[in-house]
């Protein structure tokens, strides 16, 4: 690892080498390793050590950026001067006001030495255990286990100086039992918070249960969506319309809807980068501290998130949601939480006369951003619910539906939530989900 002192030293040098009026330098550097398996064999197994040093230079209201992955003295000097040269060559951006000024940053404990040092042998042992569980249950295993660390730091000429190290472990398992498929995934800052065997059993059991899926007529069904599927709804809302940029450009479903009801009253969604129940981070790509922002409260649109550029445009302060140190400003809520309810997946199934249990969605894409109209497929475990019971696996279906409309028709929400990347969501039961096509498996 570079360590805080070395990381900040590099950034201070970069800022020093720039002769621009204002300069921001940021660095992300780390080692990440990923063991991938398919057909119950490790077929790809990789590791990388990489860095990105990004410099944003501001001359008057002219802004330029440059990046490199080389951290030697000459490269640091060169990237800083390139950014300043680009800034001088750029026309003025009258909407640019300033880089952020320093603010107090909370301590976040997101680094775990064991996760950073997890070895190829450790990962192979975990994967071997998952494969063995699959074999025991009659399923062939595919998936990945990744571990690694990243150090991220930001310095700017206005006094921002921030550093934090973090670790990340992710696991996915797709098990195949003849014609049946099952899925599970896990995300954590600490590898010890992930139980590969339990995830393998979940995926393998689901694959066995989904053997010999039957065709079913597309149409409107009540659905029980596991958290793997719910995260797609919530994250789509985030990048379609919960950032200030899309609102300022008139392309968000939040345009003209602030303070109005946009989902059912039982839906509350917020962003909180400091909550250890998610994957916490203390500050954003510009070094602005994270904070909790309530986005949708009891179905009412309450707020969107800002970076410094979009905030200053409206005369307000950044909420700490810059996603990139350079490039086009596009603030995003990336640490999203959806409020849990008081139900369980079992209770949702028991309450359903006829419906579909969806494990997860595949290849979803937006047809209309303001309508939040999305299409996609089900995948890796889709089941028919009849009279309160899961009666049979069904072939995958295509849906074409409005995510906001579906969130206006949520009947039940699970009390348990699940971490899905940086998003934390419960399972839900929703009325009238629109399946518009079917496939052959």
């Amino acid at each position: 690892m570079l360590g805080e002192d070395k990381a900040l030293e590099i950034l201070n040098k970069a800022v020093g080498y720039s002769d621009a009026d204002m300069t921001q330098a940021s660095i992300g550097v780390g080692q990440s390793s990923l063991t991938r398996f398919a057909n119950s064999v490790i077929h790809q197994n990789v590791s990388e050590y990489n860095a990105q040093l990004a410099v944003k230079a501001v001359v008057g209201k002219r802004v330029g950026s440059a990046m490199t992955n080389k951290l030697d003295e000459e490269s640091v000097r060169s990237v800083a001067r390139k950014a300043a040269e680009f800034a001088r060559n750029s026309p003025e951006n009258p909407e640019f006001v300033t880089l952020p000024v320093p603010q107090p940053i909370s301590d976040v404990d997101a680094y775990d030495a064991r996760t950073a040092d997890y070895s190829p042998e450790d990962r192979a042992r975990d994967v071997a255990g998952m494969i063995a569980e699959g074999t025991k249950l009659g399923a062939s295993a595919a998936g990945q286990l990744s571990t690694g660390y990243e150090e991220y730091a930001v310095v700017n000429s206005l006094g921002v100086s921030a550093y934090y190290p973090s670790t990340m472990a992710t696991l996915t398992a797709v098990m195949a039992a003849d014609t049946g498929f099952g899925y599970a995934d896990r995300y954590a800052s600490r590898i010890s918070d992930i139980n590969p065997i339990e995830a393998a059993v979940e995926a393998a059991t689901r694959s066995v249960r989904s053997k010999d899926p039957q065709p079913i007529e597309p149409g409107e069904y009540d659905v029980v969506l596991l958290p793997y599927a719910v995260t797609d709804l919530v994250e789509a809302l985030s990048w379609l319309g919960l950032g200030a940029k899309s609102v300022q450009e008139g392309r968000s479903f939040m345009c003209g809807k602030m303070g109005e009801k946009i989902t059912g009253e039982n839906i509350t969604i917020w962003d909180d980068g400091l909550d250890p129940n998610g994957i916490p981070r203390p500050f954003d790509a510009e070094g602005v501290p994270k904070q909790r922002i309530d986005l949708i409260v009891n179905g009412v649109g309450k707020a969107v998130v800002y970076d410094t550029f979009t905030a200053k445009k409206e005369g307000r302060e950044s909420t700490g949601h810059a996603t990139s140190a350079v490039g086009s400003p596009y603030p995003l809520a990336t640490n999203i939480f959806m409020r849990p309810g008081d139900s369980s997946v079992e209770e949702m199934i028991a309450s359903t006369k006829k419906g579909i249990l969806v494990t997860r969605f595949h290849y979803t894409n937006v047809i209309h951003p303001i309508l939040t109209l999305v299409t996609g497929m089900t995948r890796d475990g889709t089941f028919l619910i009849e009279n309160g019971k899961v009666t049979k696996p069904v072939m995958n279906m295509r849906f074409t539906d409005s995510y906001l409309e579906r969130l206006a028709n949520v009947e039940m929400i699970s009390r348990d939530t699940m971490r899905q990347g940086w998003t934390v969501v419960p399972a839900i039961k929703a009325r009238g989900f629109r399946f518009t096509g079917a496939t052959e498996f």
């Binding site: 064999v41 595949h362 290849y363």
Partner: protein, 529 residues
């Protein structure tokens, strides 16, 4: 998987369906800029000496195979939005990756620090990782044979885009931007330029030592119109822009300024256009849309690693299983599809793939019958074949995977006008809006930016939010007219995603507008089915 569609258009780069010969490849050989890369990267060290040394080392460590790629890549991006330069950046990155087979399993390790000590240490790690892979029961990896190759290869460009002054490039986008925003109700005008230059050394224990160098350029503009509760977009030359393996001459030839006013007005017209009706109709697809259709429904399912399940946990598998090879009816009799990594200017064009296999043409669908895959040395060996050279890695820190090269639909006999005149009731759909396909590549649904009603052989009113959906082999089976060689263009797709960790590949698709029968269109919701 794909994040955006890119392409070229009529009037420019009319890349015919031709292959270049080995003699022509030799003509492209150039060493001058490569020598500079070697010095810059290695502080004066002899790269060949270094790769020889590390390859000897991995064999000494017990590996049965090893290769190393050293890559340096530069990227310049300019983004203008609503009269302001929103992003202006230059990025350089370099590093190396070592891939080995030890104890019959794969290992790969990579680092940004190109120095002899780091390379030695990363070689150790790669072998250690391979040995860890091998602790799980497996059949030893077998590679199909390949002839060792040596040489330096560079694709020519007329105007080096990195030498064009930044203010000149910004001005081009500002001009287009200003014209788009003259149209009322254009809420957002955006335009982009992208330039890449990549230098790569590949060396393997099989005796290959190959240097390749390429330059890619891209340009695009888009106008977003918005009114209360509605937003519509038109792009040129394609959604997100278009790229080719070419210099700044490619950008100039697109003449985006001349199209800025048209797309702005069309975006505004779409705000009040009727919704595309639900129906089952004759569908004619414009070239860039058909390029994406070909990408998703043919390019991905013919990747033999997907077929063997190695992408099962991420992008998925394929319906084109080996039992279908040579006998499965993929399309109608007029459908002929081929892969060709030698097409000049293609984003999927190279001299050798990242396993040292030479670029080549491969038949994929012949007279409607599925006849070929894209392969790697490992996957081809499983079918008793030799690799046809489709292994490509996204940079120094990623392993090569089987990736599309340039996947092309052989031109037919029709002009677009003839196709429209020959259609009684249909829809002409243009430019990619959105895309989705299942994990075996059967059920797809695409949206386009705009569609035109066809009534009695003429284009009629426009529709907003057009969509169409189908099953891959039924759709291609309904193809009854393919545009001729004059209508054929080689489009680029610059963000084809695959793999874990994720990789983004530049690939090409040569197509002409084509016609399909009995296609379900206008699927927006259950109410209008």
């Amino acid at each position: 998987m794909i994040a955006q569609i890119r392409h070229t258009s009529r009037g420019l780069h009319v890349f015919r369906v031709v292959s270049i010969s080995k003699q022509e490849i030799a003509l492209y050989t150039a060493n001058a800029s490569w020598a500079r890369f070697v010095r810059l990267c290695m502080g004066g060290l002899d790269v060949r000496e270094l790769t020889d040394k590390v390859l000897r080392k991995v064999l000494d460590l017990g590996a049965s195979y090893g290769d190393i790629r050293i890559v340096k890549r530069a990227h310049e991006h300019i983004g203008v939005k609503n009269g302001k330069v929103e992003s202006l950046s230059s990025e350089t990155e370099e590093g190396f990756g070592i891939r080995v087979i030890a104890d019959g399993s794969w290992g790969f390790a990579s680092s940004l620090m190109i120095d002899p000590d780091e390379i030695e240490s990363v070689a150790d790690l790669a072998v250690r990782i391979a040995r860890a892979s091998a602790t799980v029961e497996h059949e030893p990896v077998k590679l199909a044979p390949v002839e060792p190759a040596e040489g330096s290869f560079k694709c020519p460009v007329a105007i080096d885009p990195f030498e064009v002054p930044v203010d000149e490039k910004i001005q081009l986008l500002m001009d287009a931007d200003g014209i788009m925003r003259q149209t009322e109700q254009i809420k957002v005008a955006e335009s982009v330029l992208n330039f890449w230059h990549t230098d790569q050394v590949f060396a393997s224990t099989d005796g290959s030592y190959i240097e390749q160098s390429k330059t890619e350029s891209g340009v695009g503009i888009a106008a977003h119109a918005a009114s209360e509760g509605e937003t519509q977009k038109r792009s040129y030359p394609a959604d997100g822009g278009t790229e080719a393996q070419a210099g700044y001459e490619f950008v100039q030839a697109w003449d985006v300024v001349s199209h800025a006013d048209r797309i702005a007005k069309e975006a505004v017209q779409l705000l009040t256009a009727p919704q595309c009706p639900p129906d089952v109709r004759t569908l004619i697809l414009e070239g860039s849309m058909l390029a994406l259709q070909l990408h998703e429904s043919c390019g991905h399912p013919i990747e033999l690693d997907r077929v063997f399940g190695t992408e099962a946990a991420y992008a998925g598998t394929s319906f084109l299983t080996p039992d279908k090879l040579g006998n499965f009816r993929y399309g109608s009799d007029i459908v002929n599809i081929f892969a060709d990594s030698t097409l000049p200017g293609g984003l999927g064009t190279f001299f050798f793939d990242d396993e040292g296999v030479p670029a080549q043409r491969v038949e994929i669908v012949k007279d409607g019958v599925f006849v070929g895959y894209l392969t790697s040395r490992e996957a081809a060996a499983k079918l008793g074949m030799r690799s046809n050279g489709a292994m490509r890695a996204d940079g120094w820190n990623r392993i090569p995977l089987i990736r599309m090269t340039n996947i092309n639909l052989q031109p037919g006999d029709w002009t677009l006008d003839e196709m429209i005149e020959d259609t009684k009731k249909g829809l002409y759909a243009a430019m990619v809006g959105s895309w989705s396909i299942d994990d075996k590549r059967l059920n797809f649904q695409f949206a386009t930016e705009i569609a035109y009603d066809i009534e009695d052989g003429s284009l009629g009113q426009i529709y907003k939010n057009p969509t169409y959906t189908g099953i891959t082999y039924e759709f291609w089976g309904s193809c009854d007219a393919i545009g001729n060689a004059d209508e054929w263009r080689l489009w680029g797709v610059a963000n084809c995603g695959k793999g874990q960790p994720g990789q983004c590949m530049h690939v090409g698709h040569g197509v002409a507008p084509s016609r399909f029968q009995n296609v379900r269109i206008g699927v927006i919701s259950a109410e209008n089915e």
